[in-house]
Amino acid sequence: MTMDMTTSLASVELANPVLTASGCAAAGRELSQFFDVADLGGVVTKSIMLKPRSGRPTPRMAETPSGMLNSIGLQGPGIDSFIANDLSWLRQAGARTVVSIAGHNTDEFVSLAKRLYHQPVDVLEVNISCPNVESRGQVFACDPIASARVISAVRRATNPNVPIFAKLSPDVTDITQIARAVADAGADGISLINTLLGLDIDLDTMRPTLGGTTGGLSGPAIRPVALRCVWQVHQAVPQLPLLGMGGIRTGQDALQFILAGASAVSVGTAVFHDPTAPIRIIAELEAELARRGFRSVAEAVGFAHLSAEEQAAFLASRSPVAGVAS
């Protein structure tokens, strides 16, 4: 029995459900030294802004138990250079491309969406987990109104054939409220989760370790929080495709996200430990699905939300014995 590993992010079909995570794979080129990026479900590029960004001063990272903090500060070349160099490389490499955009305000998001209108973009990921200069630096994704405003503006400005995914921050009182707001505003799907806000103190200097004082916590440490967000959002807006991420290291981890309701997953921090992780995870996930009697990724999406009885009925119909008997 062959496994159907295809999945889709809204209207876009992917060969398999394993993508990179924004900011953890640059624009794919460095990883192509280790494997063919066209074999991935897709490459999610580092959030790009309108203008070139230096990023924050160093130190930009701290290792924490089963995780890390980063305060990169969205260093990047700006959208023009990105289109000229990175996007064209990805197209030529044959990779499915999810372009992540970030802005200081709604207008910047709109400008980015327009610049990308005729570009080879499969999905647009709108990173609203960044500070909104129009609202005293409050993160867009922490406010349902600001989030909805960005998403509806981007939806209008983007090529209508390109689905847009809103990327949410877990640092909110009620993630389902934000999810509903962006869904209502026209998001075709949601990416969950961005990093958690954290801090580390350097015991040599006795001051915050990171140049940016606080930073984003990622890695396996946050996986239970990420799974909870995927679970809650899938329950709140079941029809909405979710791109799940946060601490995925193995095919088993990826399967947890899919069972919780993600249609596909992004592998972030694990790449730093293991540059071949995304490719390995595709194979591991396939084996884990087969072991449990699934014939496709689609069958497993949200499966953990079924009642024990519904699960049992499905799996009984799938056991090899039942297959022979019928």
């Binding site: 030294q33 001063p57 990272m61």
Partner: protein, 294 residues
């Protein structure tokens, strides 16, 4: 950046991820030297490059690899496919590493980074190593000697137990100058004390250095005072080592005069000391490319 100084400055082949068996473990003072069978890493290696080693085992809480400069690489011959690196046990990951025994397996990614750019054959060079920083200078010295350069090497450390490679360098080069802060070996003082006279004696046209940031900066200043370039191997915290995360940046002035935050893992770790804006490391200078976009 570094590539501008010579045409060997691009790695011959890309890095690989491979599991290598520890072939030998030897203590030198406070350091532990590992010899590991890693033919894929060895194959493409050039002096100046490093490897990133996973630490802590399968269920570790330590997600990030630790980087170590490579030397003693034997792509062929009797110990074919071995690499060497030396570890100072500082923190959690290196403490784990130095407890690994012969026969244990290490998960490696390498070779990473750009190699030391080589001068035209025959150009005299002074090499300066601080602490374990002298390790990558050994294969560099070999290569320079092989291409006909006259070479002098200065190695220094806080104290005798933190010197590395002095004997090996002496065997290789015929002589070595040793300094220690406490005078427990060689002359008391810093590597920069004997550096000017070495440059002058040799008529050196290039200096190479590897060691702590403060030392690299000082070496760069001495070289500049002699109007010659210094190629230095820096050590910045690296989350990925392969260029995808942007944690390892340094403010570096480009050939176009514009300063940028540059990844020390893929555009370094070898930089022209004169290009690094030492005083701005850990800062965000306003004239940096993209600083106005923040």
């Amino acid at each position: 950046m570094a590539g501008e100084a010579g045409d060997q400055a691009q790695p011959a082949a890309g890095p690989v991820q491979e599991t290598g068996e520890i072939f030998d473990v030897t203590r030198f003072g406070e350091y532990t030297q590992f010899t590991v069978v890693a033919p894929g890493v060895a194959r493409a290696y050039q002096p100046g490059q490093f490897a990133a080693v996973a630490v802590g085992g399968v269920e570790t809480s330590m997600l990030l690899r630790r980087s170590f400069a490579l030397y003693g690489v034997k792509p062929g011959g009797e110990f074919a496919g071995t690499i060497q690196f030396v570890v100072a046990a500082n923190g959690r990951g290196t403490e784990w590493l130095v407890q690994q025994k012969i026969g244990a397996r290490l998960d490696l990614v390498g070779p990473l980074g750009v190699p030391f750019p080589l001068p035209r054959p025959g150009v005299p060079a002074v090499l300066v190593g601080g602490g374990y920083g002298s390790a990558p200078l050994i294969p560099l010295a070999e290569k320079l000697i092989a291409q006909g350069s006259e070479v002098e090497v200065i190695v220094g450390a806080a104290t005798a137990r933190r010197l590395f490679g002095d004997l090996q360098i002496k065997r290789l080069v015929g002589t070595v100058t040793v300094t220690t802060d406490d005078g427990s070996a060689g002359q008391r003082g810093w590597v920069t004390d004997p550096l000017p006279s070495a440059i002058e004696r040799l008529g050196a046209e290039i200096v190479y250095a590897c060691g702590p940031m403060g030392m690299l900066r000082a070496v760069g200043e001495v070289a500049q005072a002699h109007a010659i370039p210094a190629q230095v191997a820096v050590e910045e915290s690296m989350a990925c080592g392969i260029g995808v995360c942007m944690t390892c940046v340094l403010p570096v002035r480009g050939s176009d005069g514009v300063s940028r935050f540059v990844r020390s893992c893929v555009e370094g770790p070898i930089f022209d000391a004169g290009r690094i804006r030492w005083a701005d490391v850990g800062k965000l200078p306003a004239d940096l490319y993209g600083a106005d976009g923040m």
